[in-house]
């Protein structure tokens, strides 16, 4: 019990409300600079990124902070392309029986011409604390992708714009996050990504990542995010119809934050 309370306190003190930030091994390897990405993982970063998905796909991932049991985040995403656009379903859970954050999001994305995509989402959030009960609320997000020319994509996403909170006294704020970034892909096997994130409560974070297909079906990723200074790295491997990804952040205070996950079906390389 003591252990659990300590963990719960740790969750609070670390501001572990990381939910709106990009999630998954791919994002971890790229230091979270994925707001301008098109992929089934986009549901965790920018709903507009789902607009380009043309097949049903599923993604599943888990990460663990400070290598402590109980500080895992599980996430699952489903992408369902349709005539009128693309629908995404995202589930995410952080914590364990004494402290748990859960969210479910319904996303919708579609293209507007060859250059623009827009995505919106509705998010249901729930926070459960053993012996204290639970709180829940509903919030939303919206994102935009703009591809001025083939090699460059610019992405923007606003999460929780109206500052929905889990309590009315303002003590249980849910983060409001603005992300703006770009992805530059000079070749099929290479993309360079950069992004700035500003949450209402935290400092401006700059993220930068690089994704390189070093050989057929093997991708290497490195990234760096500031505040705190966190080098990150990852590997992606295409195993037949499955994309297997591994990522790790090297947090200055929390140590290694590993993430692992897969995506089905495997994605074609970025254009």
């Amino acid at each position: 019990m003591k252990h659990s309370i300590a963990l719960a306190l740790l969750c609070f003190s670390l501001g572990s409300r990381a939910q709106p930030e990009a999630f998954g091994p791919r994002a971890t390897g790229l230091a979270g600079a994925v707001v301008a990405d098109n992929s089934p993982w986009a549901g965790f970063a920018n709903p507009a990124g789902l607009a380009a998905i043309d097949r049903f796909s599923a993604a599943l991932a888990v990460d663990r902070r400070a290598w402590l049991p109980g500080l895992e985040t599980f996430g699952a995403g489903l992408t369902l392309p349709a005539e009128f656009g693309c629908i995404g379903l995202i589930f995410r859970q952080f914590g364990y029986s004494f402290y748990r954050e859960q969210s479910a999001s319904l996303l919708f994305a579609r293209r507007f011409g060859p250059q623009w995509s827009i995505g919106i989402g509705l998010d249901y959030l729930r926070l459960s604390l053993a012996d204290y009960g639970r709180r829940q609320t509903i919030t939303g997000q919206a994102g935009l992708l703009y591809q001025p020319f083939n090699q460059l994509t610019v992405g923007m996403r606003i999460y929780n714009p109206f500052q929905a909170a889990l309590s009315e006294d303002g003590q249980e704020n849910w983060p409001t996050l603005f992300s703006l970034g770009a992805s530059y892909a000079p070749a099929q096997n290479l993309s360079v990504k950069t992004q700035v994130d500003k949450s209402l409560e935290g400092p401006l974070r700059v993220r930068c990542g690089l994704d390189y297909e070093v050989m057929e079906s093997l991708r290497l990723r490195v990234g760096f995010s500031t505040e705190p200074a966190t080098p990150q790295a990852g590997i992606g491997y295409r195993l037949k119809a499955l994309d297997l990804d591994l990522g790790a952040g090297f947090h200055p205070y929390l140590g290694v934050i590993p993430a692992v996950g897969f995506c089905w079906p495997a994605q074609k390389p970025e254009p």
């Binding site: 000079p186 290479l190 930068c208 690089l210 390189y212 500031t226 080098p231 200055p252």
Partner: protein, 724 residues
């Protein structure tokens, strides 16, 4: 040279491409002189200059000197000779690799223009490179008789004098204050002989302001003399040097030949040293070797041996009866401080490196210790992989007993220091790897490893990881580190260069590091981070505009702390620079800059104690090279307003040939300088320089014997260069 059929095709295509390339061929060789180009890279490096950069600049000047004497030969020079260009940011590691591969595959270069057929060579690089390279015919030197090689080459003589015009306290004759022994002039004399880059010999003599020149204060004339004889490529002997020289191996963890520009705006800059042996021609009075060194190449094996014995400056301290105890009378904890003379010179507290011997106390440290160094280095080459093994030993005739402060606990003490090191480098596809691990006698380990990846013609990435134990000791290292020597530091560095469009270059780096042990000014293990981003836009060949942001946070003892215990806070330094340089005509070049710095405390638990200060620097340069007059003129006017030392700003300044100045600006005032070169004859150049800084919010400048009781400081400098 035999070419296979496809090779002939390749070659024919190459020549066709070459001839059809009007843009380059129609132009005369780029008028941008080597010097100007290097000034640009020095300017870039200068911002990162602390004490170390001084020697780096000095080393760069030596390289510049050599390049000016002799362009690099595409067909003859080995990779090590090209490394300076990589370090100066003119050439990337992968371009260099390609340059050599091309020679391997297609044989000797026919013309420097052939470089444009290399896929990774871009136009801008090519333009910069062309004046520096040549295509020689093999075996040219071997036909020249020895007597001509030794006496028929190029001779140069430099005579330089400079002084500060305002009277300084140390030069006033007063009985109460014992001043400097000599006069206030700084004198420099250098003779250099070059036969291509094959044979070099020369000597240097120097006197700093306040040091004696002949007479009772300095009977031997100048305060510092240096000389060398250097020969390369005689049979199996690749390099042979007698006299004063420098050595550098691997990543410089043990021996770094002075030239290691550390972090740099050219974030993809290489790290590897050039040739392992180089003649020493600069005027730093302590950090070099004196004796003999040779490098012998036997097929894939290469052996370098060196031996040196010389006097070094040392702060002599009187050890108390028990030399083993730490309770010694010590005159200064800072290695830069001047030690007092002592009656029983049985120990030294530091090896100061300022080379100043103006007063009796400074005189007391001159050559107070003797240093013997020797070592051997074995290098194995296999295609483009290299593996090196180094063992070396340093010995002093006296015991070094450094400060007993806790932060200095792991500093070198004793009278001898041995090292062993293993290093390697190589390339695989478009990735170049390098690394070194070094062990010092006390068991301290330092290791650095990195990769430079040319992922795409438009994208370069470098990642460098370092792990230097607090226990690692080295006295001649110059390696990739946040601090001046590779110890007590773990870190990882990412550098990225992206050229999304031909006119735009984006550079960025991030470096995160920790110091596992205390440092001077940080009474606990500490962290730091350093970020840089630069956007450069070159709308035309003659114009470059760049915007650079840099942000660095370092943990240090909280300033103005009144508590009994020191605690760490993050000291921030952020800067923003906008720089425009443009050549309006072949005669006229302009540069303008505005730079702002914010320095203060972050993570401050007492926000009311936060004292962020700002600094601002603006300057305008004008460079005029009249077409019909044998002279050139550079002037600058700068205005500065920096509220504190932490918010100081640096700016590189043009100077007379082969000397550099990077003054820093603090307080409020203005500075201007003018430097001119007058070609009196084909064989005779005269350089003149005048610089003056005027302060608005100060009444005097400097302190102690350097005190100037006026709010301004002016320097004049003159140099004659004779060539024959």
């Amino acid at each position: 040279m035999r070419l296979s059929v496809p090779d002939c095709w390749q070659r024919g295509f190459a020549l066709f491409a070459l001839l059809s390339f009007h843009n380059l061929c129609a132009q005369p060789a780029p008028s941008e002189s080597i010097e100007q180009m290097f000034n640009q890279s020095l300017d870039q490096a200068a911002e990162f200059s602390d004490a170390v950069a001084e020697s780096a600049l000095d080393a760069l000047s030596q390289i510049l000197d050599q390049l000016a004497q002799q362009p690099l030969d595409l067909n003859r020079n080995e990779a090590a000779d090209w490394q300076p260009l990589v370090l100066a940011g003119l050439l990337s590691e992968s371009q260099l690799e390609e340059l050599f591969n091309h020679r391997h595959r297609y044989g000797l270069y026919l013309s420097p223009y052939e470089l444009q057929t290399l896929p990774r060579m871009d136009l801008a690089t090519l333009r910069q490179l062309l004046p520096l390279v040549t295509v020689g015919r093999a075996a040219e030197h071997s036909t020249t008789p020895w007597s001509r090689q030794w006496f028929g080459g190029d001779n140069q003589l430099f005579l330089r004098a400079s002084t500060v015009l305002e009277p300084q306290a140390g030069f006033r004759n007063s009985d109460s204050l014992p001043g400097y022994a000599g006069d206030r002039s700084k004198l420099y004399l250098r003779y250099q002989y070059n036969f291509g880059n094959r044979i070099r010999y020369g000597f240097t003599a120097e006197k700093d302001p306040g040091e004696g020149l002949f007479g009772p204060a300095q009977r031997t004339g100048f305060d510092f003399y240096s000389g060398h004889i250097y020969v390369r490529d005689v049979g199996v002997v690749k390099d042979l040097c007698f006299g004063d020289y420098e050595v550098g191996f691997g990543q410089g963890l043990v021996w770094g030949a002075g030239f290691g520009l550390r972090k740099n705006a050219a974030v993809i800059g290489g790290l590897r040293a050039g040739r392992p042996i180089g003649a020493y021609t600069s005027v730093g009075e302590n950090r070099f070797l004196r004796g003999a060194a040779a490098r012998i190449g036997l097929g894939t094996l290469e052996l370098t041996v060196f031996a040196s014995h010389k006097a070094v400056d040392a702060n002599v301290v009187a050890l108390e009866n028990n030399p083993d105890s730490l309770g010694m009378s010590e005159t200064g904890t800072d290695p830069e401080s001047i030690g007092a003379g002592a009656e029983s010179p049985d120990g030294v507290s530091a090896f100061p490196d300022d080379g100043l011997h103006r007063t009796e106390t400074e005189w007391a440290k001159k050559d107070a210790a003797r240093e013997t160094a020797f070592g051997a280095h074995l290098l194995l080459r296999r295609s483009n992989w290299k593996l090196g093994l180094l063992a070396s030993h340093l010995r002093y005739n006296t015991f070094l007993e450094p400060s007993d402060q806790l932060y200095a606990q792991y500093n070198f003490s004793g009278n001898q220091l041995s090292h062993a090191s293993l290093h390697g480098s190589g390339t695989w596809r478009n990735l170049s790897f390098f690394g070194e691990a070094a062990l010092s006698q006390n068991g301290g380990l330092a290791a650095v490893a990195g990769v430079m990846a040319s992922l795409h013609p438009r994208v370069d990435l470098s990642v460098i990881s370092r792990r230097y134990a607090p226990q690692y000791q080295s006295l001649y290292a110059s390696a990739f580190a946040e601090q001046s020597s590779p110890r007590n530091e773990h870190g990882i560095y990412f550098g990225l260069r992206v050229r999304p469009f031909s006119r735009i270059t984006l550079d960025a780096y991030a470096d995160a590091y920790t110091h596992p042990w205390l440092r001077f000014g940080a009474d606990a293990p500490s962290r730091g981070r350093d970020y840089l981003a630069q956007l450069a836009y070159a709308p035309s060949r003659n114009t470059l505009l760049y915007l650079r942001a840099r942000h660095e946070v370092k943990e240090e003892n909280a300033p103005a702390n009144e508590a009994a215990l020191d605690y760490l806070t993050g000291q921030r330094r952020s800067s923003l620079r906008l720089n425009l340089s443009a050549r309006l005509s072949p005669q006229l070049r302009l540069q303008s800059r505005i730079e702002a710095v914010w320095a203060g405390t972050v993570q401050q638990p007492f926000p009311e104690r936060d004292t962020t200060t700002t600094g601002l620097l603006l300057f305008q340069d004008l460079q005029w090279t009249p077409a019909r007059l044998p002279l050139s003129l550079t002037v600058r006017y700068a205005l500065f307003d920096a509220q504190s030392f932490d918010a100081r700003l640096y700016a590189f300044e043009n100077d007379v040939l082969y000397s550099f100045s990077v003054p820093f600006f603090q307080d409020r005032g203005s500075r201007y300088y003018a430097v001119t070169r007058i070609r009196l004859a084909r064989w005779l150049d005269l350089y003149l320089r005048y610089a003056r800084t005027s302060y608005q919010n100060r009444e005097n400048i400097g302190s102690g014997l350097d005190l100037i009781e006026a709010p301004h400081k002016s320097e004049v400098k003159a140099m004659l260069r004779v060539k024959w």
